[in-house]
Amino acid sequence: MTPTRPQFLWMYETMVKSRAFEERIATAYFEGKSPVFNMANGPIPGEMHLSNGQEPCAVGVCAHLDAADFVTATHRPHHIAIAKGVDLDAMAAEIFGKKTGLSGGRGGHMHLFDARVNFACSGIIAQGMGPAVGAATAFKLRGEKRVAVAFIGEGAANQGAFHESLNLAAVWQAPVVFVIEDNGWGISVSKAQSTAVPHNDSRAAAYGMLGHRVTGNDPAAIFAVAGDAIARARAGGGPSLIEIETSRLAGHFIGDAEGYRPAGEKDALFARDPIPALRGRLLAEGMMSEAEDLAIVKRAESAVEQAIAKARAAPFPAAAEAFDHVFA
């Protein structure tokens, strides 16, 4: 399955938008955090896990989804949220803790929920997997052609929920696709230190499931593999597992000095940044002109600028609102 030109351009624009978003978030995050870096301060407090470098995973998969499909993301959710069509303004406002945020500032960056596009999160490693199996099972039960996708990191593939969810999905033949973003690290612990097999796609066999690995952090390759898996799920062909080789260009969270990385690793990753790579390909293959590129970048950046500006301008929730929505 090869992306059409519009799909290529959508992927590109979404990646650019996602990266622009992360950059603006990083900038805002540092405000109020110097000279002393204290997570509690500034317009965005708390941990901040950026997705720089992992955009291909989000776009290659979400290109095949629409709002009715269900996605669960992790502690590192921005790129996926953006690719899934989560309202960018409300998402930015949520990250700034504002009343206009997706959940009025209750959730924050690790708990982005947008029911309109069936997007959910959990900050606990691998815990989004069970919900994805459940949503998919509901779709199957009701005879709907919707699918569910659970994103996790490669570190999460060693959590019990991974095993239980894959087995359950296979036993129930649920229309769900499990996507592992393999950036090689779980905070400071490398994949080799934590995972008994080189690649997690090989673990699909333990569930009689199809497993695929996509190398090169290439959106088109991801698009192809994810497209097959999602189409198969949608057609009643059951679940599958995809592991995508990707790169974490930011620290685990902002502030991570990454002293644990081997020398030179980070530079090598930057040299393979997937955004310039895709831009190069699109230009080289004549799918995008320089002018189109400029327009795309401008559009993406202005969407982000606008979202961030609105978020900054929005009011904070009142203290009493903390007590709302504990129960429905």
């Binding site: 009025g104 069970g130 239980e164 969810s165 036993v171």
Partner: protein
């Protein structure tokens, strides 16, 4: 949620066990609402280890009555996802003692997703789970853990003491848009092999009805002391109250029925009348239900004639041997002794 059953005047009594009342509530709600489904271990062909899903597979088939692998994190997580897309799953955690393998799905997702989503994404699900000891099932199969669940925000927690309440609370739970932990006590369940406290079997209207959450019941009125119980301990309190009459003591027995929401008003009003408070809880004593009830009463400024007391399971794992377990459990005897002491001027 305030509708209660209209009991037809000449209706014949239908004395049901809690197990049957739960199964009936499930069946009726499943007929009414196609989004309700049941999942758990051994809940289909076997009808549930504790009988509360008996007959459902036959009527509703395996798509809606789903036996699961022994994967509580997986299938309780799945229930959260089902709820997110419009189903109303009822899941069973066979023994509450197993919460340790799946608590994240319960307390970090089911209980919080509504809040995290600012109300966009409610989690209408029921987790039914068996609690309680006294039959020699030892330390990993006899706990109540009421306090463990009630302490964590975002879940409603109900504990029926009889079949009427069980049916009505189950209907309320299924219709509620929030996660409800439905804790049924094995000694009240009506499975012959677990014995059955007879008081748990009572008249259950045939039609669906709701028992609202957050309304404690005065299981017995009395003026000398308020005994607060829940689930099985309500029956111990009632037995004790009956005996206490011989001592000239009239005990009021409050059945909490739900821990979240907690009906502090009824408890406080009762203690205001009686001036004395004894809490009887089968869960571990410290940092649990008994402490919360006492604190709620005294912080409200209610004046007590004698210091409040509690009879709870001591802070020890639940021992196997009957000569160790039984004396450690709350009992009518202990209640009689404590109440007598409190009313007759013990400290």
């Amino acid at each position: 949620m305030t509708a209660t059953a209209t009991i037809l005047p000449n209706r014949a009594k239908r004395n049901l066990t809690i197990a049957k009342a739960m199964a009936e509530a499930l069946a009726q709600e499943m007929r009414r609402d196609p989004s309700v489904l049941v999942m758990g271990e051994d809940i289909a062909a076997l009808g549930g280890v504790f009988g509360n899903t008996r007959g459902l597979l036959e009527e509703f088939g395996p798509a809606r009555i789903r036996d699961t692998p022994i994967s509580e994190t997986g299938f309780i997580g799945a229930a959260v996802g089902m709820a997110a897309v419009g189903m109303r799953p009822v899941v069973e955690l066979m023994f509450v003692d197993f919460f340790g393998v799946c608590m994240d799905a319960i307390y970090n997702m089911a209980a919080k997703n509504c809040y995290f989503s600012g109300g966009q994404s409610a989690v209408p699900m029921v987790l039914m789970t068996s609690v309680g000891g006294g039959y020699g099932d030892a330390g990993q199969h006899s706990q109540c853990l009421y306090g463990t669940f009630a302490h964590l925000p975002g879940m409603k927690v109900v504990v029926p003491s009889n079949a009427y309440d069980a049916k009505g609370l189950m209907v309320s739970a299924i219709r509620d848009n929030n996660p409800v932990i439905f804790m049924f006590h094995k000694a009240l369940q009506g499975m012959g092999w677990l014995g059955t406290v007879q008081g748990s079997i009572n008249d259950v209207p045939e039609d669906a009805y709701t028992v609202p959450f957050g309304q404690a019941a005065i299981a017995r009125a009395g003026r000398d002391i308020t005994i607060v119980g829940l689930g099985a301990t309500v029956h111990l309190a009632l037995d004790a109250a009956e005996e206490l009459i011989a001592n000239g003591i009239e005990a009021e027995v409050v059945d909490l029925r739900s821990l979240v929401p907690l009906d502090r008003a009824t408890v406080n009003a009762s203690v205001k009348r009686t001036g004395r408070l004894l809490v009887v809880d089968e869960d571990y004593q410290s940092y649990g239900v008994s402490g919360e009830i006492i604190a709620s009463v005294v912080e409200a400024g209610t004046v007590l004639t004698s210091p409040p007391r509690r009879i709870a399971f001591p802070d020890i794992p639940i021992p196997f041997s009957p000569t160790l377990e039984r004396p450690a459990l709350p009992s009518a005897e202990k209640i009689v002794a404590a109440v007598t002491d409190m009313v007759r001027g013990g400290r």
